[in-house]
């Protein structure tokens, strides 16, 4: 039988348990909402302006570098699995592949894009 059926079952049961726990708590708990209780918590101070604040663009560079390395590792996993059968030639090839991507990291670094400031 297809093993992914059981992975799907794990998703279903894994969602069922927290839904059940939160559902029971929702049934048992009191429900007396008022505006003060539902206000935004900021250590007792009234919130100023929009809550959805803007965040610095620096963030995107990290996300881009992450994306490059994430995709790279997905390519490297099949390489790692078959490494024993492929021998030294595939190892050298893999090393060249990694070095090309590390060059990208070095470029980002030299451009000063890895600073959180």
């Amino acid at each position: 039988m297809n093993p992914w059926i059981f992975v799907g079952l794990f998703f279903v049961v894994g969602l069922l348990i927290p839904v059940g726990a939160i559902g029971i708590a929702w049934l048992l708990g009191p429900k007396k909402p008022n505006p003060i209780k539902q206000s935004v918590y900021e250590c007792g101070i009234e919130t100023v302006g929009e809550s959805w604040v803007q965040f610095k663009a620096q963030y995107y560079i990290f996300a881009l570098v992450f994306l490059v390395f994430d995709v790279e590792t997905v390519f490297l996993f099949p390489w790692a699995v078959k490494l024993g059968a492929l021998g030294l030639f595939a190892v050298i090839e893999g090393i060249i592949f990694v070095l090309i991507l590390v060059a990208g990291l070095v470029y980002t670094w030299r451009k000063g894009m890895l600073e959180w400031a």
């Binding site: 059981f6 079952l9 927290p18 429900k31 900021e42 809550s51 024993g84």
Partner: protein, 396 residues
């Protein structure tokens, strides 16, 4: 074959007989048995989770020279159950400006992302949820759902603290996922398989002996991935109060809290599976599957205890230091380690066992020493540059 040798198969066969006896088609019966098995496993995990709450509180108390919970039951063992009852009867508050659907889904996803990880945890030689041939990749994919739940919680809460906490946490998680993925490649190279069960089966020598540096990097990245101290910037009590889960109360907060503890325990388990032989302990796993389960849980607990030890010993690191540590030190180091491991593995393929182990171990030590030397050189140069400026400034 008896119950003590293979409990899962015996129970499944018996249930299959019962269900098909009722006139159920075999496929439906198999799916129902799978469902029941998963339900039992996840229920046991939730009980374990309640135990972890007690362990965490007791251990932190000992680290801080306190006693911890000791009123309810022997050693305060009933305390977490009392906490659950309290969480159950708390009022469920939704902040006024919140995005209600996403706000309510986030804690459920947080818990689910941890529970589905146990699909690929091999508990004993034949006992594991699903023997996926891409187990290692599944761990990363399932872990990313946790990241998603955090950004959902932070965004939907309509709170600045929560949003900033979520942003930070995601920055940390996507950064530290890179060295984590890289170190997960090392057991894959050594075992020649991505399946967690196969990795454990192949570990006649614990991989920590072949890749001690890889094991260390994996632990550091796992702590960051979990968002625990010293990398708990998303929660930073002194600045963000509680971070992404600030607006959550009652059972929804309980889900985040319990999910975090179980996540730490699960990653202790993955550390054991990838580097410390999983359920294997000098042939003990061949005696009985129950002993094997005890061994893997014990090893997972050791990992969990180590994560707790780090948490209560080290101070919180600033976010720029942390990202610099990851991108400028850990990531290049992890990729160097992969290249060295792959090369040494290919060169020493035909060598005797002692030479293979010694070669792998020493190459790891050399890489670690070289990385520390380079870091020391650059930090010394940086320090001299700064001190040189200060001398000039003081001279005028």
């Amino acid at each position: 074959m008896s119950f003590w040798n293979d409990p899962l198969k015996v129970a499944a066969d018996w249930l299959l007989g019962v269900f098909t006896g009722w006139g159920m088609p075999e496929l439906a019966a198999n799916i129902l048995i799978g469902f029941l098995g998963i339900l039992i496993l996840i229920s046991l995990l939730m009980v374990l989770d309640i135990g972890l709450v007690w362990v965490e509180r007791k251990v932190v108390a000992r680290f801080q020279d306190r006693i911890g919970p000791n009123r309810l039951g022997p050693f305060g063992l009933i305390q977490p159950f009392a906490d659950i009852i309290k969480l159950m009867i708390k009022e469920d508050i939704t902040p006024a400006g919140a995005d209600k659907v996403i706000y309510n889904i986030a804690p459920m996803l947080s818990m689910m992302s941890v529970l589905i990880l146990w699909a690929v945890v091999p508990l004993a030689p034949a006992i594991l949820g699903v023997d996926l041939n891409i187990g290692v990749l599944y761990i990363i994919a399932a872990g990313s759902i946790g990241t998603l739940s955090i950004i959902m919680a932070g965004w939907a809460s309509n709170n600045k603290f929560a949003l900033i906490g979520a942003f930070r946490q995601v920055a940390v998680m996507i950064s530290f996922e890179v060295p984590m993925l890289a170190t997960m490649l090392i057991p894959t190279i050594l075992a020649g398989s991505m399946g967690t069960a196969a990795i454990v089966e192949k570990q006649d020598i614990w991989y920590v002996l072949l890749a001690p540096l890889g094991a260390l990097i994996f632990l550091i990245a796992a702590i960051a991935e979990l968002g625990r101290a010293p990398f708990d910037l998303a929660e930073g009590e002194s600045e963000l109060v509680s971070g992404y889960n600030i607006e959550y109360s009652g059972m929804k907060f309980g889900m985040f809290y319990a999910g975090e503890l179980l996540h730490a325990f699960t990653f202790g388990g993955f550390w054991a599976i990838l580097f410390f032989g999983g359920y294997r302990f000098f042939g003990l796993e061949k005696v009985s599957p129950f002993l094997a389960i005890a061994v893997i849980l014990f090893k997972a607990f050791i990992g969990y205890w180590l994560i707790m030890w780090v948490r209560y010993t080290l101070l919180r690191i600033r976010i720029d230091h942390m990202l610099a540590f990851n991108w400028k030190f850990l990531t290049p180091l992890a990729f160097t380690l992969i290249m060295v491991t792959a090369l040494m593995n290919a060169l020493l393929a035909g060598a005797p066992a002692w030479l293979y182990i010694a070669g792998m171990f020493l190459s790891n030590i050399v890489v670690a020493w070289g990385a520390l030397e380079i870091a020391r050189f650059y930090s010394r140069r940086e320090r001299e540059r700064i001190e040189g400026k200060q001398v000039v400034a003081a001279g005028h």
